[in-house]
Each structure stands twice: as C-alpha cells, then as structure tokens.
Amino acid sequence: MIFSALLSHYRRHPVQALFLLLSIVMANALLVGTQLINAQSRASYADGEQVLTAGPIAYLRSRESNMPVNESDYVQLRRQGFDMLAPVLRRLVLTGEGDPVELLGIDALAFPRQGAQTQGDAVYGSQGFAGFSFAPYEVWGSPGRLEQLGWLPGERVSLRSGDQLPLVRAVPDAGLGHRLLVDIGVLQELTDSRGQLSSIMVFEADPAAIGSLLAALPAGLVYTAVEQGPDPAELTRSFHLNLAAMGLLSFVVGIFLAYNALSFSYTDRHELLRKLRLAGVTRRQLRGALLLELALYLGVGGMVGAWLGARLAASLLPGVGQTLAQLYGVYIAYPDSFSLAGMLMPLLMTAIAAALCIMVPMRQSLQAPLLERGTSGWQGQAVLRRDRLMLLAGLVLLLLAAVASVQATTTWTALAGMACLLLGAALCLPLVLRAILTLLMRLVPSQNARAGWLLADSRWLLGPASLALMAMTLALVANSGLNTMISSFRQATDDWLNQRLAAQLYFRSAEAPRGLQEWLDQQAPGVALSERYRVMLERPDPEGKTAQVELVSLQAEAQFAATIDLIRTTGGARDRFEDGQGVYISERAWRLEGWQPGDLVAACPGRSPLPVLGVYHDYGNPQPQWMMHETLFRHCWPDREPASLALTGPDTVDWAGLRDALSLQFQLQADDLVDQAELKSIGIAVFDRTFLVTNALNALTLLVAGIGIFCAVSAIHHHRIVQQALLASLGISRRERGALLLIQWGLLGLLCMVLVWPFGTVLAGYLAGVVTPVAFGWSFALVPEWQHYANLAVLAASAMMVAVTLPAVRLLRTSPATLLRTEAVQA
C-alpha cells in the first residue's frame, strides 16, 4: 500500500522514473562494457598467442631483429625431424579504402596434430583446410573483424596494391582476433616476400626434442620462448587501465545524474511522505518502501545496463583488438558471448553508490518535522555553503593532482592524479560559475532588467543544476583532454615518421643495384644514395641488467640531422655528434633503461666508451636505441652491410619521374621502390585506426553527459513553473520567455567551457607528459588544438538548448492562468 502510494508519484511523473532508470543504465553500461573488454583481453593474454587453437611455446627468429627468416632453414629443420615447427609470415597490407589489415600467413598442413588425433573440428576439418590451403584459396577472419572491415563472406577484396585477396570466409572461435589468416604462399605473393618467413613457431614438444632443436639451430636463428618475450598483459597494462578509467568516468557521470534524479524525486515527494507519516506510517516502513523502490530501479537499470554493456563490449572489441595489435603487436580473441562475472562488479558498485547517494536526501525527507510544510531545497545560503565546500574539496584534489604529476612513478599513481584533476575541476565549477555570473551582473547596465533577471535567475539555477553541469563538465574535460592528447600524439607520430623517413625514395632491398651511384651522378645530380646501418648490441644498463640495444646510424646529410629533436642535451651536443665524439640515446633508453646524458657507453668496439650527448624522441619504439653519426658507425663497424637504402635530394627533383627512370634502368619491380609519401600514409592510417576505440568511447561519454543534461534540465523545469508564472504575469510574451530560457541555458553551457578549456588542456598535458611517460617510457609535445574547443563550446551550448527545448515548450504552452493556479496551489 505504502509502496504503491510512493510509486504513484512516478505515475504522475513518468519522465522522472525514466531519467532515474536512464542514469543507472548509463552508470552501468560503459563500466560493464570496459570491464568485459578488459576481462576478455586478459583471458586472451593468459591463453597466449593462438593460431587455429594451437599456441606456440616459442618462436625461432632471425638473430637480426626485424630481418626475415629464410624458409629453407625451416625446411631443413623439418627434414631433420623437428615436426613441432610451423612457418609464419606476418604482413600489413592496405585495403583499397586504406584500411590497414594484418595478415598472418601459415601453412595449415604443417600444423601440429596431437599424436594420431585429428583436428576433427568442423571449422578446419579436412574440407576446411582444402579451401584454405589450395587454389582458389581463402582468407579467414573472425566474424567481428570482418564486420569491422565491412567484408562479406564469399567476396574478394581488392588491396591498394591492386592485388586481390582470396575469398573471404568467416571463422568463429579460432582465436584469430584482429588478424586475418591466409595461406603462406598466397601472402608471400601478395607482399612480394617469396622465400621469407617472419618467424618459425615452435609448438609443445618434449624437453629432449627442444634440446635437440636448440643444438641443431642454424647460426642465424635464435630461439625465444614465449615467456621470455614481452608479457602482453604487462605491455598493455596501461592501456587497460585507461580503458577502465574511461568506464569509471562514465560511471561517475552516471552516478552524479542518478543522484540528481533521486534527490529530485525525494524533494518532490516531501509532501507525500509527510502525509503518509501523518496517516500513521512509521519511518521504518517508509524507509523500507523507499529502499525497495531503489532496489527495483537498480535491478531493472542494472540489468539493462549490463545487457547494453555486453553489446557495447562485443561491438567495441574488434576496435580494441585493432588498437592492441597496432600499439603493442598483441592479439586478442573476439568471443561470441561474455561471462556474467564481468557484470557483477559494476552492479555491486552501482548499488553501493546509489545507497550512498540516497542517504542524505532520504534522511532529510524522513526526518523532516511532521508539522512543517516542505520548503524549496535551494536556499541561497545553504547552496553557497555547499559550493564553497566543493570548491575547497576541488582545490585539495587539484593540489593532489599537482603532487602526483611530479611524483608519479607508476601508471596507477599517474591515473589517480588524473582522476583528482578531473574531479577537482568538476567540483570547482559551481563557485566559479557563480563568480562569473556575479561579475556579469555587475557589468550589465541596471536598466536592462531582463538581462539582470536572466543572470540572477541563472545564478539561482546553479543550485539545482550544478550537479548536472558538473557531470557535463567532467565529460567535456575528459573529452577535450583526450582529443588534444590524440591530436598531439598524431603530430608526434607524424614527426617520428618524418624522422624515420627523411629520404624521399626507399628501396625495399638493402642492396644497391650495381652502378646505381654512377647512374645517379649522371642522370640526377644532387640526388644522393643514403644508407642506414644498424646493429643489435647487448649492454648492461646502469643497474647492471643486460639490455638489448639497437644501435643505428644517422645519415650524414643535413636533412637527417634536422629531424632529430633533442629533449635533453649536453653542451655542444650537435657539433660533437657530427664529429663522432659521442652518441645520442632514445627517450626510452633514458627513461626506462636509465642512461643519462653524460654517461659513458660502450658503443664502439675497440674504442673507449663514448659519452651520451643527448636524448631524442623515439615515439613508441619498444626497443631502446642508441644513435651515432654514419661516419663513426662505419668506422666502428666497417664490415656492416647497410640495413636500408634510400635516395635523398632537394624537393625540386622530379621524384616520380626519377622513380620511373630508375625502374626502367635497373629493371625494378613496382614494389622495389617505395616513396616517402606512401610509407607515411600507411603510418598515419595505422595511427588513425589505432585510436578509433578511444574516440568511440570518448563520444559515448559525451553522449552520456548529453543525456544527463537533458534529464536534469527536464527535472529542473518541472520546478520552474513559479518563475514562469511570475514572468507571464509581468506580461512577458511566450516568445520572449522562450528566448530567455534558451539563452539562459545556452549561457550556462558556454560558461562551463570556461573551465573545460583550461582543464581540458591541462588534462591533455597530463596525459602526454605524465601518464604516457610513466606507462610507456616516452613522451610527446602537447599541440593544443583550439578549434576543438570552439567545436565543444558550440556542442555544449547546443546540447543545453536542445535539452531545454522540450521541457520549455511544455512549460510555455501552459497558459499564464494555469501557471498562476499551480503557483497558488504550491504556495
């Protein structure tokens, strides 16, 4: 009975019930989604790399990193009886639309069979293998990945190179994840890599057999056990933390809104509760009924949220897989269903948060003196006190964030600092807005009554609306921070590509065609042949641990030196580097391995150690790197063959023409020469797709905030009848009242940007300068993108105006007489 009386409120105000549900759903959905994605990824890491459900225990790779394995080595090892080996070729190709696609080339016939057991699986039983391994061949992908690429089973996809992939086939549950699987011969032909393997997979075998394999390895191959390699869980930890943080952010935004909706529903029922108590219902019974009501909302909202979250996870997982593949070279499987376990934690969190949320409003409602009629909750002094407290809390949080930015040494502390920054910004909002509105009121000439009223009323609105505004601000700050971070990162990638690709034309082979230099001297004066050398070294890092360091040469031409952006330098670094008096080290070698400028390192055999002259950005290169001038390199390693070959020269050279002439003169294939622009476009295409998921989540968070604002504004307008009645009775036309409403909320939205602007930039700087270096060992410079803020401001103001339109129309349609009547009743 009591329960139905309480619920009758929602029958009269179904929108309020809907908003409450929506906020619970929102709090849950993204959190569940990100949790499920993380759980699935971790499960994939635990399983290790799976190729057709077989997980290699080790890889045989070329001793020279990034160099191909000769396939005749593989054939010889198989002929010696090492049947636990299977060849792999990994290649990245671009589709006609410019989508980068990772292809894994295997020989399905060479896959291990457990003793006499057959694979027996419907997917790759005998008939399946036939289609895969023999003409006309097939390319296999998980349904999720194919959907992401927009490929239909049975079709043939064209690549940018003009080649066609074989028939597409969707293969669920094969652990393919982001990669597509194709026959190794097909992939070699597609990518002009005949005779090459990326590595040789080693499958489970008894220890004696592995021992014999090690003894029989050709000199050029090294055996790397899977557990010796980078641990994918470790590698991707910060990525998953980021994802979890985004889920939490959306959870917090949802909880803010749920709190908003709950406090409105309690305030609105103040009178009802008082009457019920007068009718003899005890506080205990009322509390029970209210808790039951909350449980109902939580149950329904939680379930819908969990369902949405699972849908979200399923649709985002291929994108996450793409990011993981491109950032870390780690592959996860895309399952067809998720376990319930991942959904329980968010439900529990929502329940606890909701319980905390209702504590204060519920006590206020239940403890209110029985004989006193309810008063409006937004008393000026109380609100001001609340805002001051929030500002104080916000400032403390910002201080903590500042400390964390200096002190953070782990990803956790860096992210905690980021959370402090975000929440701190949000908490400062109400008082800052209040101050701005007060300032504006002083600036408005006193004879402009409407503007004065508008500002004063907006200031009052900060009371009920501040939570919703804070939620929106939180989402906007996060959004702008991430956007700035991503655009800066993109710029960093571009810089890195420029640094790596300073030459205009690259040869695929490291061996120069005979007579190339002479031909160039005659046909293309000014164009120089530039060679890049590299060697892998094992050196003790400053802590004494052995580190694998890649030592590379920097070409002598001036344009190469110009691409090296030094973060730390010692005196006269550039001149001394030119003279071969020292080396540069990469940022990773500096931050993670711990070499410092000024340290002496053994970089040149037969010479005394050389000083570290400077530190350069080497964005995202997982390998610590040292760099020395080409002249010094060739002096130190005279027998070294160049690792890559390029042509450099002034931009005035007709590079396309030169490319054609070269192909003709030296009978090069179309693929033998690659121009800089092509390589760069691949790099940037990969980058853009890497951040698809981040962008998607980012947009979702913003959407959550938009819906939240809509809910909050609707709820508030329910309480604005009095003001409308007053305005109407003052003779202000409906049209004017409408304009006032829109301006008022648009103004609030715009004013939020006053905070979003600086804090978004600070957040981006925090991500680029604190979180990334701590998590990855490298940083990049912040490139603020001001236009983005303008977009966001327009977005925020329009979101507000759209949100306010529907309730405003309802409000304005009501005739002044009705408004006054309602006013009278309420009074």
């Binding site: 000769n70 396939e71 005749s72 593989y74 054939v75 010889q76 198989r78 002929r79 010696q80 009886g81 049947d83 020989d107 016939l109 060479a110 069979r113 003793g115 006499a116 057991q117 057959t118 694979q119 039983g125 005998s126 008939q127 293998f129 036939a130 289609g131 391994s133 023999f134 003409a135 026959d183 190794i184 011969g185 097909v186 070699q188 032909e189 005949r194 005779g195 008894d206």
Partner: protein
C-alpha cells in the same frame, strides 16, 4: 597392392565435392572424385623401371605402401605400416608454380606400429614444393627415395633394393632394412589393375617378398625384429567409382612361401552394383596366379565394435578354385588408424589346414561408417 587407403588426400585436393553423397560413404568418397585434366591409367602401357619407382605428378593420386609382419627378439608379434600418399591438387600442364608453397603436389604420410598389446598411428602432411633445392616431401626414382620430413624409405645402394625405412614420432620409431632376391610383381594386366567392372583402374606393382630386419622402439625400449614385408606401389587418377563404398583388403604371407592378395570393393547399398572381388596368389618363384573372382568367398564370422563401428575382424576366406579355406583374425581389435581419414588396418594371423592356409599378414578395411 593393397590398401589403397586413402588417397584420401584427395580430399585435400578437391574443395569441390563430387555429386555422390559422401555422408553414406565416409571420407573415402574422395577416391571417387573426377579426374579431368589428369593422365589416365590404361591397360597395355608397360611400366618402366627405375623411372616408375619415383613420383608420377601427372596422375592425381599415388602411394608407396609398406607393411611388415615382424617377430621380436622377445618372441612376440609386431607390425609396422608406413605409407606415403601423394595427391595433385591441380592437373598438370600448367607452368610449374613460381612459389614452392603453391606447388600442386601434396603429401600425406602415415606411420603405424602394432606392438603385442597396443597400436599407435601418426600422420603428417607436407607440400611438395622445393625451397632452395630442398623439399619437405617427395619421391625420386634414381636414387630411389620417398620421404616426408625425416620419415624416409630409400635405396641404400646403387640398386632399388635393398631399402631402408626410417620413421619416428613421439617416442615410437621404426628402422628396417628390406631386401629380397625375388622379383617385384606387376599386378593385374602387366601392371594395370582394374578396379571397377566398367574398366577403370590404376597402375600397380608390388614387392611382396621383402625380408625385413631392424628394430622397433616403443615405451622407451628397443626390440630387435625380423620378418616379412610387402611394398605396394600404385598410381592413378581415379580409384573408386561413385557407387563404391570402401574395401576389405588382405595381404597375406603364407607359411608355404606363397603370397596371397585379395580385395573386395563393396558397392553402395541399393546402387544395383555388387561387390567387385579380386584375388591373386603369388608363388614362391614369383609366378602369379589370378583367381576367378566368382570362386573367392569372403565370409564374416564375427564383428567387433571398434571406434564406434562394427568391423568384421574375424573372417573365413574360401578359395574355391584352389580348394583352400583360411581363417583370418585380427591380432587384436585395437588397430584403428585414428587419423584424419580414419580406417582399420592391422596385423592378422591366418590359420587353417596345412602351410598353404597358415601365416600372417595385414588387413585393411575402409568405408565403414559409425553406427
């Protein structure tokens, strides 16, 4: 000839399945697939050696099939089967593929070892492409060598015989020296063996007189063995016709020194086609006696359940023309070849009156579907 087991491979060859419903016929339907574009086996074409010891890539399927009935130094019965199957995935006549991974020749090898109380079977696959002068699988005529990885059957000297077989997997290994002073036997009509009443068939020769000596390794022990081995070589482009289901194939070493080869190709029930029977007795001299199919009786005495199938593991064979009766019984039922194209093949003992009705051998049964 024998066990043709499966050219099974074929399966791999043909993504397109023929019209006949394979669900009735198990995996062996592949042996009946079409042969357009491949060379066809025809009667009246003489076999040429040593050329024909090597591979015939113009034909769709081919095998090197060795079984050995062995006695251990411990006095117990052992058996070994090693087969290399070749299958061409495309007809000849096109240019050789530039990429060795796209070589049309695909090989499958089976290794099975029967011990007094057990049986193991292994399989491997490889393509025939040559990478920098080396292929994972292939067969050359001179010097003779048929191999897949380190499973190898090869001549040890200048001549085809003696041969050596070496294969090992997963703690099991076989190493046999095989030799004979008697000539190989051209089956059917001078090496053309009809496999179907309509006239289709294969090229087929055998060396049933191989004396084997060597050792078998299993469960960490090595047992010296010796005994009799039988090598079958067969190539064709179509083996079964669409209305044939499978076969029961006997290769027996009799105590009289004779070799007896019998097979029955079973027609698909309701196909209006009876069984196709064939039998040949090879005398110790190597002289061949073709048996009248009408007089050969295959009677199942009992069936046993193996791998979910009811298999006849106890037979009474009657050779009416010779007035002989032989009882053929599996050494033990568990000689199921649990490979991609599964079948039963194993050591059998032959008992009856007199040395012409007693001995050992191998029985192969295919095309039995699970209950």
């Amino acid at each position: 000839m024998t066990r043709v087991v499966m050219a099974v491979l074929l399966v791999m060859a043909q993504a397109c399945t023929p019209d006949a419903g394979p669900e009735d016929r198990g995996d062996f339907a592949v042996l009946a697939q079409g042969a357009e574009g491949f060379a066809q086996a025809r009667p009246g074409v003489p076999l040429v050696f040593s050329r024909d010891h090597g591979a015939h890539p113009a034909y769709r399927i081919e095998w090197w099939y060795l079984t050995a009935n062995l006695q251990g130094s411990d006095g117990l019965e052992y058996g070994a089967q090693w087969t290399l199957f070749r299958s061409a995935t495309r007809p000849p006549g096109e240019l050789p593929p530039a990429n060795p991974w796209q070589d049309p020749q695909v090989y499958m090898a089976h290794l099975a070892i029967t011990t007094p109380d057990g049986h193991v079977a292994f399989q491997r696959y490889a393509r025939g492409g040559v990478h920098d002068g080396e292929a994972r699988a292939g067969a050359t005529a001179e010097p003779f060598e048929a191999w897949l990885d380190d499973w190898v059957l090869r001549s040890t000297g200048e001549h085809w015989l003696p041969l050596q077989l070496r294969a090992a997997e997963d703690g099991y290994a076989i190493d046999l020296q095989l030799d004979s002073s008697r000539p190989k036997v051209l089956q059917g009509e001078d090496g053309f063996s009809q496999k179907h009443p309509d006239g289709g068939g294969s090229y087929y020769y055998s060396q049933p007189f191989l004396e084997a000596r060597g050792d078998i390794k299993f469960n960490g022990q090595v047992v010296a063995v010796q005994g009799s081995a039988w090598l079958d070589r067969e190539w064709s482009s179509q083996f079964l016709k669409a209305d044939q289901l499978g076969w029961d194939w006997f290769a027996l070493h009799l105590e009289s020194g004779e070799k007896l080869m019998l097979f029955r190709l079973r027609g698909v029930p309701g196909s209006n086609r009876g069984d196709f029977k064939h039998g040949v007795l090879i005398e110790p001299s190597g002289a061949k006696r073709q048996l009248d199919p009408e007089t050969i009786g295959f009677r199942e005495i009992s069936r046993s359940t193996v791998a979910g199938r009811e298999l006849p593991l106890y037979w009474r064979i009657s050779l009416g023309e010779l007035g002989r009766e032989l009882e053929v019984r599996a050494l033990h039922p568990d000689q199921w070849m649990d490979v991609d194209f599964a079948y039963w093949e194993g050591v059998v003992t032959v008992s009856g009156e007199g040395p012409g009705n007693r001995g050992v051998g191998y029985l192969e049964m295919t095309g039995y579907t699970p209950r």
